[in-house]
Amino acid sequence: MPASATASQLSQSGRDMVYAFHAMATPCEARVETDDAALAGQVGCAVEAEARRIESKFSRYRSDSVVGQINLAEGRLIAVDPETAHLLDFAARCFDLSDGLFDITSGVLRRAWRFDGSDRVPDPSTVEPLRALIGWDKVTWQPPMISLPAGMEIDLGGLAKEYAVDKALAAARSLTPMPLLVNFGGDLAVSGPRTDGIAWNVAIASVDREGDMAGLLELTSGALATSGDAQRFLQRDGVRYSHILDPRTGWPVRNAPRSVTVAASSCVEAGLTATLAMLQGKRAEIFLKREGARAWCIR
């Protein structure tokens, strides 16, 4: 599905110039604390360019993207470029670190699970055969060569957006020393505090009430990522099935929090921490507390 080609727009918001566009299926913005519209436009374009580059490079919908080529290789060894190699290395380390809970080969479960807010929970007989197609340990990864067994596929969706935030911020930072905030649909990073050392204010969206603020956060550096189920869930017989699927069972993680927001040095780290926390289900808060993570859960 091609991304909608909504025009980007530049506007003034308080002390900032905001460059807004649509990419990776979410509203994106690049915020610069400046009056200079030309600078903001330049920064915004760089941010948008990076977002679109990563989106098309790692899109699983495009047969010509890197991920598309890997998935359609039917067992052949494919050589990947350095950037993809580093991402796959990172995914591999996260797989080990999470004892298999974070697995980029779990995307095949999409064929059984469609999280559209309805009550169409799949039959176990549709989920069971997919389990054989999941498992990073089955993938042959010898950088820079990768080969997937037949029927398996990789999906970098759980990484790409956060990585794009970090990359886009770096691109913006190379253009200006002014305070910057890059926000792709709730995953965001800042270049540092605002002028005079004032923190950026970020509202945590309420899970249930549209437009409501569940909390307010002050950020002076680093990044934030939120993992949540606001629109993507199934509900049947009073049980809520979150869209976070446990790759080891093929079924949603039980009793996951409705939303986890994590702050860390980078958006990639924050995003992974949030995903790992959600995968702990009812033990999400204990996991975050034990790890000393800066996080906030909404149940």
Partner: protein, 471 residues
């Protein structure tokens, strides 16, 4: 945001942090030495929606009127416990000790005047004198028809050309108010409150209900508050019959009640990023004993203006009032401007206008100053009279209470505050409040032409406060 305090990173986080650093450094996104310096607020100093915290305010008000008049000391405490999902519990405690002289309502005369009141404690044989040459105990002649005759009374005198004041005035009060509010279902806020206040001669019970709804991404709030009050006045000496002669007898009616019901309809709007506005309409209806049982009004000779007798005042038993209040707060850089106006009107024909301006100027991060000025103007109640004229028919209602007269009040104040941290603040506020009115009305008779008939006050007050927030 209730973020967990920074602790040692666990195994997963350390590994993840290292893996992320590797990824970002390798892809040219970040420089290695930049990676580990992240700062979410240095301390957990977030207080606001979604955070559970408690705020405690304590303050001490000291108030002094000029000319040896009322002096009050009032410590107060307010505790507000905020839950993470919008619940709030408030506890308010207040105490005050008031003493000093207060005008009794009679007019000044070019001759010495004496006034008789019941003794403070019925049957007591203690003398009630105050340091500034107060009262004496006198023996009263028996009066036919009186029940529970007090054979002793209290008498005090006022020098010539001086505003008559009762100097033996001393009172203590304590009050407690409790409130609870929380969101219920789709309603943003529903609250209930109740209070009780007790002083030696007065008791007040209050109850309130409030509901509010947020719209427009919480930029607009509409609220409705219903409030009610039931007061019992039990003055020393009992409730006097209105417009009868002031005397030292202990009155047969010992207490009277007053009921009040009202509502406040409010609209709060965050207009822009730095402009907040509030607009309130209030309506109030009171019924019962409105009279001040200690106040009197002089009856003067129609020619000479000499007071010939003193009568207890009388006010109507009902009072309805309405007011509109509009407040705006603007924040620009280091300064915050707060400007408000109020228009008030009631069924006693009192109308008033109030305008208040304060400007808070932050001097760095640990100090601010806030000068403020308030202008107030009210018209007289329709039954307000400085005095009654002998020989004329007594009106149904009459009071010489300066609080019901036509006057202008100006307050000049300044506040200095020291935020000691993001959690605590101390502040000191001082002010000067002056009421001015026409003390020489054109209609003054005889000796009253030479007297200043305006009994409003000038006062100085100071407020010392301490505010503390904690999780």
């Amino acid at each position: 945001m209730q973020l967990k305090k920074r602790k040692k990173a666990g195994r997963v986080r350390r590994t993840l942090s290292a893996a992320s650093a590797t990824l970002l450094v390798a892809t040219g996104t970040a420089a290695a030495q930049d990676y580990y310096g992240y700062g979410l607020e240095k301390r957990n100093d977030n207080f606001g929606p979604g955070i559970a915290y408690t705020q405690m305010d304590s303050a001490l008000l000291v108030y002094q009127e000029s000319g040896g008049r009322v002096q009050a000391t009032e410590p107060s405490l307010n505790l507000a416990v905020h839950g993470a999902t919008g619940e709030q519990l408030t506890v308010d405690l207040i105490a005050d000790a008031v003493s000093g002289a207060t005008p009794n309502g009679a007019v000044p005369s070019d001759r010495i005047q004496t006034f008789l009141t019941p003794l403070k404690a019925q049957g007591s044989s203690t003398t009630v004198t105050s340091a500034s040459g107060g009262s004496t105990i006198i023996q009263l002649p028996p009066t036919p028809g009186q029940i529970a005759a007090a054979a002793q009374g209290r008498q005090y005198t006022t020098a010539a050309n001086t505003l008559p004041m009762d100097k033996g005035f001393r009172d203590h009060r304590a009050g407690l108010t409790l409130g609870w509010s929380q969101p219920i279902g789709p309603i943003s806020d529903v609250g209930i409150s109740g209070g009780y206040s007790l002083e030696t001669d007065y008791q007040s019970i209050t109850a309130g209900l409030r509901t509010a709804q947020n719209f427009n991404s919480d930029n607009t709030t509409v609220s409705l508050a219903l409030n009610s009050e039931f007061d019992t006045s039990s003055p020393f000496g009992g409730i006097p019959t209105p417009l009868t002669a002031m005397n030292a007898q202990w009155k047969t009616v010992t207490s009277r009640n007053k009921t009040q019901l009202g509502f406040v309809l409010g609209l709060t709007e965050v207009v822009t990023r730095n402009w907040l506005m509030q607009l309130n309409y209030s309506y109030d209806a009171q019924s019962g004993y409105e009279t001040d049982p200690y106040r009197v009004i002089s009856v003067v000779d129609a020619v000479s203006g000499e007071p010939t007798s003193t009568l207890y005042e009388s006010r109507p038993g009902k009072r309805q009032s309405q007011s509109v209040y509009w407040e705006n707060k603007f924040e620009f850089g280091p300064s915050l401007t707060d400007i408000s106006i109020r228009y008030f009107k009631d069924s006693w024909h009192v109308t008033s206008k109030t305008a208040e301006l304060s400007e808070r100027i932050n001097l760095g991060r640990s100090m601010y100053v806030e000068p403020n000025v308030r202008w107030y103007q009210q018209s007289a109640a329709d039954f307000f009279q400085n005095y009654l004229v002998g020989g004329q028919t007594l009106p149904a209602y009459a009071s010489s209470d300066p609080r019901l007269s036509k006057f202008t009040g100006l307050t000049y104040g300044a506040k200095v505050g020291f935020p000691l941290s993001a959690r605590t603040e101390i502040y000191l506020r001082g002010g000067y409040y002056q009421q001015t009115g026409n003390g020489h009305p054109a209609t003054a008779i005889g000796q009253l032409k030479t007297q200043d008939l305006f009994a409003g006050n000038k006062s100085v007050f100071g407020l010392f406060g301490f505010q503390w927030k904690f999780h």
